[in-house]
């Protein structure tokens, strides 16, 4: 990814993030989270993680944030806007974040920087030999393209099969839990 695109998406992401904290209206905050996640998905796609970028847009901005907006409008939180700011939490938040950023800069200034390894046609074609000949992954790699979704599926269903089953159980438990939590309790 060219540098100017990286900085563009990073700026979108950070401005969106700052707006989440700054806006008083919860609906504005939720829409700022969407802005932030669009910038983040751009960064993911720039890192050639196409599947993760699309999932970020679909799941996070498409499903999770719509759920947030739905709950905000359901609870009718307009009256939350007219409140005085308390100084202690704001000072604490700024101090904590500044301490964190100072530490981060200290660590990053000491670590060895690294440029991205090339993912050009020859490198991809060379890695095709690690997969079964004639498979979709091997042929696409041989053409010099990155079959991102196929590789993720390959990893998920071979090395992470058990974890995937556990995840299915987790989602089922979460669904049952949400239904039982949302039921109106009998008086």
């Amino acid at each position: 990814m060219p540098s100017y695109l990286f900085w563009l998406f990073t700026t979108i992401m950070l401005i969106g993030g700052t707006a989440v904290v700054a806006f008083r209206n919860p609906v504005s905050s939720a829409l700022s989270v969407v802005t932030c996640f669009v910038g983040l998905a751009g960064l993911f796609i720039g890192l050639s993680a196409f599947f993760v970028g699309v999932i970020q847009i679909l799941v996070y901005t498409g499903a999770v944030m719509v759920l947030f907006l739905f709950i905000i409008m359901l609870l009718d939180l307009k009256n939350e806007e007219h409140r005085a700011n308390r100084i202690a939490p704001i000072a604490a938040g700024i101090a904590l974040s500044l301490a964190f950023v100072v530490q981060l800069l200290g660590v990053l200034s000491k670590t060895v920087d690294k440029a991205a390894p090339a993912l050009d046609k020859t490198a991809l074609a060379n890695s095709a030999g690690n997969f079964q000949a004639g498979s979709k992954i091997a042929t696409t790699l041989g053409e010099g393209k990155l079959p991102d979704v196929h590789l993720i599926g390959h990893t998920l269903f071979t090395e992470y099969n058990f974890a995937l089953q556990i995840l299915g159980v987790l989602l089922l438990v979460a669904t049952v839990g949400v239904v039982s939590l949302s039921k109106r309790q009998a008086e």
Binding site: V21, V33, L40, F68, L75, I94, L104, L119, N126
Partner: protein
């Protein structure tokens, strides 16, 4: 080309913004959104590590698997958390953390 440290810096700044929001804001829903920002910041650093450490000339897909699992767990967590917030609002008529003081000694 952006280097690994650039991505880690962007991820760290997003994490710091989320942390500031969790501490500063008094509205539970916004605190919850800031938690999502922190999770996404961690995801960004995971994807960056996956891209910058190649295995056999391909990105290390184990990192992206962890991102995949984090996003799934986060979606489940959001559903349960919002259900809890709705139940809280039904019983107390508020989601402002300064007014939820029944556990205060």
């Amino acid at each position: 080309m952006a280097t690994l440290n650039d991505y880690l810096l962007a991820s760290g700044l997003l994490f710091a913004i989320g942390l500031a929001g969790v501490v500063m804001r008094r509205n539970i829903i916004i605190v919850f959104m800031c938690l999502e920002l922190m999770l996404s910041a961690a995801n960004l650093s995971l994807v960056a590590f996956s891209r910058f450490n190649t295995v056999n000339g391909l990105p290390d897909y184990n990192g992206q698997m962890l991102v995949f699992f984090v996003i799934t767990v986060a979606a489940a967590e959001v559903a349960v958390g919002l259900a809890i917030i709705v139940a809280l609002y039904r019983s107390r008529q508020t989601i402002h953390t300064d007014e939820l003081t029944s556990l205060k000694g």
